[in-house]
């Protein structure tokens, strides 16, 4: 029983950064913008988040540093892809290349340092319940924030007028523009939200997942988050399922290595990446009837004045 609880806790911890980053990217993509720079924004968020927490001793300030760093990275993207109408795929790649370099530069001084990781919730009586107590009432703050974030995004997209307008921009920017909505401004906010989430997701890694910073510690999670958005058919509810499934695959391979299954560890480590490829293929195939992607996703929009 303790093992089951430990596994669920580990899955939640591994899923949370994926869920946060993917939720942000989902909003960005729903507005019609494909920002492939999630990995770059995450890794800068990780470096700045750790720097903030190490300098101030506060996990909260560290998380804020991560959010601000991710947002600033996303503003570079917005300036290029929205302001200057540059190809979004190429800009996103550039953002990732820049992010990897910047995070190395920022984090260089912090390699080998340790911080006290984020505290876990403890409510006497509730957290002690066997099996479910620690899962429901004993997580760190990031886990609860990630759940609130998905619910909030779902409510925003489907229950508010602003969410409807944002989705309209993503499906048909010409019509949205003709109706008088400021397409580029709305998209800029969506890109910034995506950046803030990616920065927070990156900061989660050194602040709660491991209490130290290592260069390249995001290890492709930003790219997996991008794949998760495709997996979710751009719906927040399915994103939760996808993120936890991927977290489970990650933990499964870690445990399998621990159990001494006779498979080389490198093959197990490759599992999450292979799973991403397989899932993308299966989903795209199942959807051959029609795409569920926002219709204007990734296309350049230059308003005629």
């Amino acid at each position: 029983m303790e093992l089951v609880e430990a596994i669920i806790l580990a899955v939640l911890a591994a899923s949370t950064p994926l869920l946060i980053a993917a939720t942000g990217e989902l909003v960005t993509e729903r507005s019609g913008v494909l920002n492939l720079g999630v990995e770059g924004m995450m890794i800068v968020g990780a470096a700045c988040g750790f720097a903030g927490a190490w300098l101030t001793g506060s996990i909260l300030i560290g998380a804020l540093f991560g959010i601000v760093a991710g947002t600033m990275m996303s503003l570079i993207f917005a300036l290029m892809a929205l302001g200057l109408a540059v190809n979004q795929v190429a800009t996103g790649l550039a953002l990732t290349i820049l992010g990897v370099g910047l995070s190395g530069l920022i984090g260089a001084g912090f390699v080998g340092e340790r911080i006290t990781p984020a505290v876990h919730l403890f409510i006497p009586g509730l957290t002690d319940i066997p099996l479910v107590g620690r899962v429901l009432f004993g997580e760190d703050g990031f886990v609860y924030v990630s759940i609130a974030l998905v619910v909030g995004v779902w409510w925003f997209l489907y229950r508010t007028r602003a969410g409807l307008v944002l989705r309209a921009c993503g499906d048909n920017h010409v019509s949205a523009h003709a109706l008088g909505y400021p397409v580029l401004r709305i998209r800029t906010f969506a890109v910034m939200f995506g950046g803030a989430c990616a920065g927070l997701a990156g900061a989660y890694l050194p602040l709660a997942y491991t209490p130290f910073f290592i260069p390249g510690m995001t290890a492709g999670r930003g790219w997996i988050a991008l794949a998760l958005v495709v997996f979710s058919s751009w719906r927040p509810g399915r994103l939760v399922v996808g993120a936890y499934l991927f977290g489970a695959v990650t933990i499964l391979q870690l445990h399998a290595q621990g159990w001494g299954v006779g498979i080389p560890s490198q093959f197990m480590s490759a599992l999450p990446y292979l799973a991403t490829v397989i899932v993308l293929v299966l989903l795209s195939r199942a959807r051959s009837g029609g795409s569920t992607a926002p219709a204007a996703l990734g296309t350049v929009f230059v308003p005629d004045r």
Binding site: L84, A85, V86, A270, Y273, T276, V277, R285, V302, D304
Partner: protein, 363 residues
């Protein structure tokens, strides 16, 4: 105040030529600021980055050595990008090519195998790179899966596979437990062009690849199809060009070139298979392709320039203790400026101070 883009009647030829130069200029200005922020003398740093490597023969050879994989990979990527196929997994294809070619080198080690070894390694590496690139291409064409994500995921898989081989079955028994194969035999090594130097046969192969790509794009129907499918997909459909077939073809060619570059790097400058054989050549080649404006000759120049930043970065680290990551930042910023300046070819940038002053019906 607002920035407004105005579409040009025609794409500007002048700006197409000078835009990479503007981009490099802007990058250097940004780097000066960055060096100053890092507390380094910007002029000395620029000298270490861009001038010092050009002043001695050893560094000049080293630039050509580093440019070799960059140019070969970028030529393949440019074909993909021209055809609007987004292969960003060249790093993985490079590693798989290195692994496949090394297989022959490892298996023939210590035997009296003849001169066929190196050509066989080249052929196998190119084939393996092409096959590895075909995975995302086929997933795209058959199932509609995003080739961007699948090709990138396979980079991590290739990296782990190489790691497994050099720590497991292929590890040099006399290598003090380091994760590396034994040094390749002389018949499995790329010959040097200058006795005792660094320059090797691979650089000649890279030049041949550039020439072949230039002929393909300028003089053949396939090259024309590649350019049309990317630039005007609708026209290409009316013309009866098969876009899916071109995705398969360009991915296979770019995978083969990346794989060949991989084995040349391993059997040339490195001399054995080990993790970390690539300082991100597959990703830097994306910058090379764009900086070279997806044009073979441009890519050759851009490849040499980015190779210079690798060598300059190493020298700046030794001479001035500037962190190596500055080179990556430099490369990222450069790509941003290149893309921004490319926007100038199609649009005019205008600063408008208030939208309300524009009379109705204008524009």
């Amino acid at each position: 105040m607002q920035l407004v883009l105005e579409k040009r009647a025609e794409r500007s030829g002048t700006i197409a030529l000078v835009s990479p130069l503007i981009a490099i200029g802007l990058t250097i200005v940004t780097m000066v600021i960055l060096f100053a922020l890092l507390g380094k003398n910007p002029l000395l740093a620029l000298h270490a980055y861009f001038i010092a490597p050009l002043t001695d023969g050893y560094s000049l050879q080293e630039i050509a050595v580093k440019a070799t994989p960059l140019v070969m990979i970028a030529i393949g990527l440019s074909l993909c990008y021209l055809a609007n196929a987004w292969n960003i997994g060249a790093e993985g294809q490079f590693l798989i090519g290195a692994v496949a070619g090394s297989w022959i080198a490892v298996k023939t080690q210590g035997t009296d195998a003849g001169v066929w070894v190196l050509p066989a390694m080249f052929v196998l590496a190119a084939a393996a790179g092409a096959l590895y690139a075909l995975i995302p291409a086929i997933c795209k064409v058959k199932f509609g899966a995003s080739e961007i994500l699948t090709s990138l995921m396979l980079v991590y898989v290739a990296d782990l596979f190489l790691d497994y081989l050099v720590r497991g079955p292929w590890r040099d028994p006399h290598g003090f437990n380091f994760p590396t194969t034994a040094e390749f035999d002389p018949v499995a090594t790329v010959p040097l062009l200058i006795e005792g130097g660094r320059l090797h046969l691979g650089s000649i192969i890279a030049l041949l690849v550039v020439a072949a790509a230039a002929i393909l794009l300028a003089r053949t129907i396939k090259g024309f199809e590649i350019r049309v499918v990317g630039a005007a997909p609708r026209a290409a459909r009316f013309g009866g060009f098969n876009a899916n077939q071109l995705i398969i073809l360009t991915f296979a060619v770019s995978g083969a070139l990346a794989g060949l570059a991989g084995i040349i790097e391993v059997a040339g400058p490195v001399g054995h298979l080990q993790p970390g054989i690539s300082p991100g050549y597959g990703f830097t080649a994306i910058i090379v392709a764009f900086l070279g404006r997806l044009n073979p000759l441009g890519i050759l120049i851009a490849g040499l320039f980015l190779a210079l930043t690798f060598i300059g970065g190493e020298q700046a680290q030794i001479a001035m203790k500037i962190p190596l990551d500055v080179t990556k930042v430099f490369q990222g910023i450069l790509l941003f400026y290149v893309l921004a300046c490319d926007s100038l070819i199609l649009y005019r940038f205008k600063l408008v101070f208030s939208n309300r002053q524009v009379p109705r019906g204008a524009g």
